[in-house]
Symmetry: C2
Subunit: 342 residues, 2 copies
């Protein structure tokens, strides 16, 4: 799937940052792909990027308008259609990661055909995904796993990829969700693959590579999330990680979207991932923990990182805060593999 960029980010009429994860993800991790943002009058949030008209965005080189927000149920709302049509008229392609398909919307499909514009639905799995073989592949792989959904698996993988490269290592971020795919320009939307082929999709995402090359794979869901564990297990089996990094948000009590399910401990999450991961890679190891302390003041965050590190006996860092703790985590990721390849 080839994406058109640079992007103009469409914020629609969103009033809560939680519904604009794609916009913030693109701003934070692919600023070179973003020329600015466009919002409807009712919107109350901003990414801080320049607010542009369609014409200004085109003048600055934009090639696509990205629907950078989420709606309950993943629907394309009727109030957005005039803007989306105007974007096509102005010369922009449309990019969407929603469950609803742009190409299934009659007005958008007609306008795109008439204007020779592209409607790019990122949440479309590749065709002809094979059934997983379980065959061991060459190259090194790291997977971020979580105690729950939506607590930093993508940011952790992106941050580690950057750090690995700073150390001169060959490393590629492997995107498994729509925002990740828009950030790096390729990947497989794991949650949209038919279950029988899900592990095969993870194998396809992380093919044979040079023995010292790293795939840093964006995790999905949690093995302990009753709605999405199947996606997590397919990704774990198919990506055959050598190294796990467990992602967690301190203070979170309940699992996203569920009633009556407590967030599991880091220890339980780690043990289960190692147990299941050994099936396709008996040498799987955990290098450490990524803690999302974004909602805490600096001093409290530092305190917590130290507490967790003491309790768990392994490196614990907040990838968004960086510092020595993150360097230590990166070293542990690299070292734990090197040891056993000697």
């Amino acid at each position: 799937m080839e994406l058109s960029y640079p992007y103009l980010l469409f914020l629609a009429d969103i009033q809560h940052q939680a519904y604009a994860k794609t916009a913030f993800g693109l701003r934070d991790w692919a600023p070179e792909r973003c020329v600015g943002e466009l919002a409807l009058p009712a919107a109350t949030i901003s990414t801080g990027l320049p607010r542009l008209t369609l014409e200004e965005a085109r003048a600055r080189g934009a090639r696509a308008l990205v629907i950078a927000v989420a709606t309950p149920g993943g629907a394309i709302l009727s109030g957005w259609i005039p803007t989306l049509l105007a974007a096509l008229e102005s010369g922009l392609d449309l990019v969407s990661g929603m469950h609803a398909r742009l190409a299934h919307h009659r007005q958008l499909a007609e306008a795109a055909q008439r204007l020779n514009r592209r409607l790019i639905d990122v949440r479309t799995p590749p065709e002809d995904i094979p059934i997983a073989t379980g065959r061991k592949r060459q190259g090194r792989r790291l997977l971020t796993v979580g105690t729950d959904c939506a607590l930093g698996k993508k940011y952790t993988a992106l941050s580690l990829t950057r750090k690995f490269r700073e150390r001169g290592l060959a490393a590629d971020f492997r995107a498994t969700g729509q925002t990740g795919i828009m950030i790096c320009g390729s990947g497989v939307p794991m949650d949209a693959v038919v279950a029988d082929f899900a592990a095969g999709a993870a194998e396809m995402l992380t093919p044979d590579a040079a023995h010292d090359h790293w795939d840093i794979v964006e995790g999905q869901g949690s093995l302990l999330h009753p709605s999405y564990a199947a996606v997590s297990l397919a990704l774990l089996h198919g990506s055959q990680p050598d190294v796990l990094v467990v992602c967690h948000e301190p203070g979170r009590r309940g699992m996203v979207g569920l009633e009556g399910y407590q967030t599991p401990t880091i220890e339980a999450t780690l043990e289960l991932n190692l147990t299941l991961g050994r099936r396709t890679n008996p040498l799987i190891r955990c290098a450490g923990v990524a803690l999302n302390t974004g909602s805490l003041p600096e001093a409290r965050a530092e305190e917590l990182l130290a507490e967790y590190q003491h309790r768990l006996g392994m490196p614990v860092a907040d990838p968004m805060r960086g510092g020595a703790a993150l360097d230590e985590l990166v070293t542990a990721c690299i070292t734990s593999t090197s040891e056993r390849s000697l």
Copy 2:
């Protein structure tokens, strides 16, 4: 999905029994739905049902021709098309459980439309499957799980359903694969559901029921099969079983379709299913083991059943051999739940 039956079973040109699992499953478990079989000249196997022409089958009340064989890749072969078209002409609908869709075949689609016949692709998941909620539902549930694929999970579930009913219990077989769906007339093809919705599909399959009603759920794959474990986990989480029965074939060395993967032990399979199953049903128990001894002589089978029962300390039976061992397994299924509901 409403199926048309009685069926005429189409054996195509198959020469190995392993490729005709659907035909034998229907003969063994839904003989009242089968009027006979139809084969091409090259076929060398038979179900033992009457071999009928299309006209004879119609005269005996057949309403559909079932493609009762499997092909590598799940394709509808060109050599079958004249027979399939003749079946439509003769007044039969077509039923298929293959990956390839009948409705996507131009000649079949045109003929079905012209003749007002139905093309029924059983491997089509229902629309609007919800995301799983993990909410505990009323009623009792039993799931058959396996050390591998294709070793008796469906036959075990069907056999237990029959035994439960013989004891006067309200019990429904819940089909999760194409053959099971053709046998009982409804169900959800778990392996064809998009991964994000797979656990939701299992919840949909086993809805709230009377507190003493049993859903006996056909298992899929194995948690330890690197290709299909995601399907197994979604089914385990979503069906929230109270009781597990582990299915195994003694003597099997390697996992179906893979190189270098040994079949796991019953103990490892059991422990992993209990560990993961506790997430949505903390009271999950294992009642015993179903051993597939179909390839062994009677005396050796009896010996093995006793050996396994001694080793595992729980009831072990071959559902297809029945006898006292099977009665003991059924009692254990019922009792292990009753104990804790007191």
